[in-house]
Amino acid sequence: MLTVQFLLLGAVLFCIGVYGVLARKNAVMVLMSIELILNSVNLNLLAFSQRLDSIDGNTFALYVIAIAAAEVGVGLAMVLLIYRNRRSISLDELSDMKG
């Protein structure tokens, strides 16, 4: 197997995730796209872990998974709160930051 094939797969997933973050209106969908990005990062970490014959990549991947779980928890709580206050989770309507 080649190193680059895993890295390319990671890159493709990353870009799809970025597209999702940019294009989606529903906040839950944006969170899902972020999960895609995080997974592509994990793929990279593990590929390099294998390439360098070092176990550190595995450790980092585990940490990323844990962080992702925390992120989803807090993110969904925020989405819930937004929904409760505005009856909508469309990001287009959340434009209070407008300059």
Binding site: V4, L9, C15, L36, N42, S49, Q50, D53, Y63, V74
Partner: protein, 170 residues
């Protein structure tokens, strides 16, 4: 190049799973149904777990299945349910200027592909002759990476408290 070096089975496996993952990921960001998107996400995440196995990281793969495919997906489904009663398809899940996303994503993909192919070319991964022993992993976590582990525990604690505080009705 000898056939033994090529690891045909792994390469075929990789190709199939990678194709599945890319299709799944594309569906995640394009379907007009939140629940369907979540289910496609399951496909991608399970595929990622399989890739981790190919990379001989079995513990991470198991964790991936447990945490992502198990817990995180349930959270997503709950989030969907709690924020929108409607489970069917919806017309406008994409925002108005979704078109910006396409060039940006393509631009990034182009840059990365160029860099990766330029940098790694046809360098081969060392053969995964053995799995990563879990013991070594735990020694790593509780040895040199203990401090990040503590920080991580703290982050999880804060996340739990924060999620409760945010989502509590009062």
């Amino acid at each position: 190049m000898l056939a033994a070096d090529l690891l045909v089975a792994q390469n075929i496996g990789f190709g199939v799973i990678a194709l599945l993952m890319i299709v799944g990921a594309l569906r995640v960001v394009t379907v007009n149904n939140v629940v369907h998107a979540a289910l496609w996400l399951v496909v991608v995440l399970s595929g990622a777990a399989a890739q981790y196995l190919l990379l001989s990281a079995e513990f991470v793969a198991i964790t991936q299945v447990l945490v992502y495919v198990g817990a995180v997906m349930v959270l997503f489904l709950f989030g969907t349910m709690l924020t929108r009663a409607k489970i069917g398809a919806e017309a406008d899940l994409n925002n108005k200027n979704w078109a910006i996303g396409v060039p940006v994503a393509l631009l990034m993909l182009g840059v990365m592909t160029w860099v990766l192919i330029d940098g790694f070319g046809d360098e081969k991964l060392p053969n995964p002759d053995q799995q990563v022993p879990v013991q070594a992993l735990s020694d790593d976590i509780f040895g040199p990476y203990l401090l990040p582990f503590w920080a991580l525990s703290f982050v999880l604690l804060v996340a739990v408290i924060g999620a409760i505080v945010l989502a509590r009705k009062d």
